[in-house]
Symmetry: C2
Subunit: 269 residues, 2 copies
């Protein structure tokens, strides 16, 4: 291979950092890759850091010391968040999305990777100062945005299921009441899923009464773990007093009128 040029290093480092958000790479890692001195890599990283800041495509963070290195944090700025949530509202605010029962069809958004990835970046941005060990969610619709949030934060995801499966091994099984329609539901989680003493961020696509969030908090106690944040894509304005109130939402849903076919939704940021 011909001599490595500055362009080459900048492109490859950008690719590696972009592909692995919040993963720490030592300078030595890049030195070995390009067979060059630390000072050279340091200069390259300074250039990339400045470029990323100028173009608002996230930040390059440095950790000094023996365990140090650099990582890419693809967080959204306040303005980017506002634009993105406004865009989401426009997507969702369409009469053809209203389905019988006054629900809104959002599967197409949740299941389109380019959109769910941006939702993940937005949700991760809301909790950028919270230290967590896992992102937790409940099957099924919340999984894509929880996975994307976990990808951005470089943490594993945990999926709580509605019934236990053979492939989960031993599970802890908990009944809880959904506050939106007062039905008894079940949460199951494999005893292997989480280490004791963990901090988890609960991510879901929708919150109405808050029963699921409260259920997750109760379930985490059984695992001697703690919910340190709750983030949802969309929360309903009513009931105002939910059984779990300490959450952040990207969107507020105020009203779905099945007769006039109007949806009242606005950014939560």
């Amino acid at each position: 291979m011909k001599k490595v040029q500055k362009h080459d290093r900048i492109s490859v480092i950008t690719n590696i950092l972009t592909n692995n958000p919040n993963k720490i790479f030592t300078l030595t890692h890049f030195c070995n890759l390009f067979n060059c001195a630390k000072s050279t890599i340091s200069e390259d990283l300074d250039i990339i850091r400045e470029i990323f800041t100028n173009y608002e495509i996230g930040t390059i963070e440095t950790i000094s010391g023996a365990a140090g290195g650099v990582y890419y944090n693809p967080l959204m700025s306040k303005e980017q968040m506002e634009n993105f949530t406004k865009e989401l509202c426009e997507h969702i605010n369409a009469s053809e999305r209203i389905i019988p029962g006054g629900y809104i069809y959002t599967n197409d958004l949740l299941y389109t990777p380019s959109i769910s990835k941006n939702i993940g970046i937005a949700l991760a941005s809301l909790f950028k100062d919270v230290e967590i060990d896992y992102v937790i969610t409940v099957e099924t619709k919340g999984i894509p945005i929880a996975l994307m949030t976990a990808m951005v934060l470089n943490k594993p995801m945990i999926v709580v299921r509605n019934q236990s499966k053979l492939t989960d091994g031993t599970v802890i099984h908990m009944n809880y009441i959904t506050n939106s329609n007062h039905r008894i539901k079940t949460m199951c989680l494999s005893t292997r899923a989480i280490k004791k003493g963990s901090k988890v961020l609960f991510i879901d696509d929708f919150m109405k009464g808050g029963g699921t969030a409260k259920g997750i908090c109760d379930l985490m106690q059984e695992f001697e773990s703690e919910v340190v944040g709750v983030g949802v894509l969309m929360a309903t304005k009513q009931p105002e007093e939910k059984v779990y109130n300490d959450f952040k939402t990207l969107l507020w849903l105020d009203d779905v009128d099945e007769i006039t076919r109007e949806v009242d939704i606005y950014p939560g940021i």
Copy 2:
């Protein structure tokens, strides 16, 4: 902002392409972003293309003509696939993963974004020459790898559910028989989920008898659509004759011995 340097353009273009696999960007898009001539962007892209090829971090593809542009394809080379599947085998081949019933616990792998993303890249690489409109999967465990495959291919994902939900609106409901344990199960899919005449790629974490893959094919007929590929993370050697045989797998599982605590697993590539 100071004058845009070549380094800046190369880093930002690399970031944008890396963040949006298989999404086509016109040269004009970059010209506007940097306020420069097409010939300049062309040169930058030539440099990035060569770098990506040299470092085996995917390819930069060009589409000529009016609807043309460039896109990033993060496919794995044959050698990278072999190394990755070998690594996966080492992860999975651990006696503590065996759970009662002779099953293997893999949730931690499927739910760790950095791993499921690579599984997605590997699965997408297996079907790189197949034209598809959607990636389809069945809840729950297959969702993360299906979403990552869809992200790499830049296509929406569809999730078939085991029971219908209010938020799905009108659904098509189909019973089928799982061939591994001959139980009747249900598949439900919203009538809004898929356009008629679509081609879908079915992705799942596990295949034994092939009943689910066959079920998806039958269900797709109801949507006047067609399964054009089936890819799984892991397939069992037994039964050799499955009800659906036209699939690709990253890993073969030959035997799980609950007594000796041994797992016989090897790459399918």
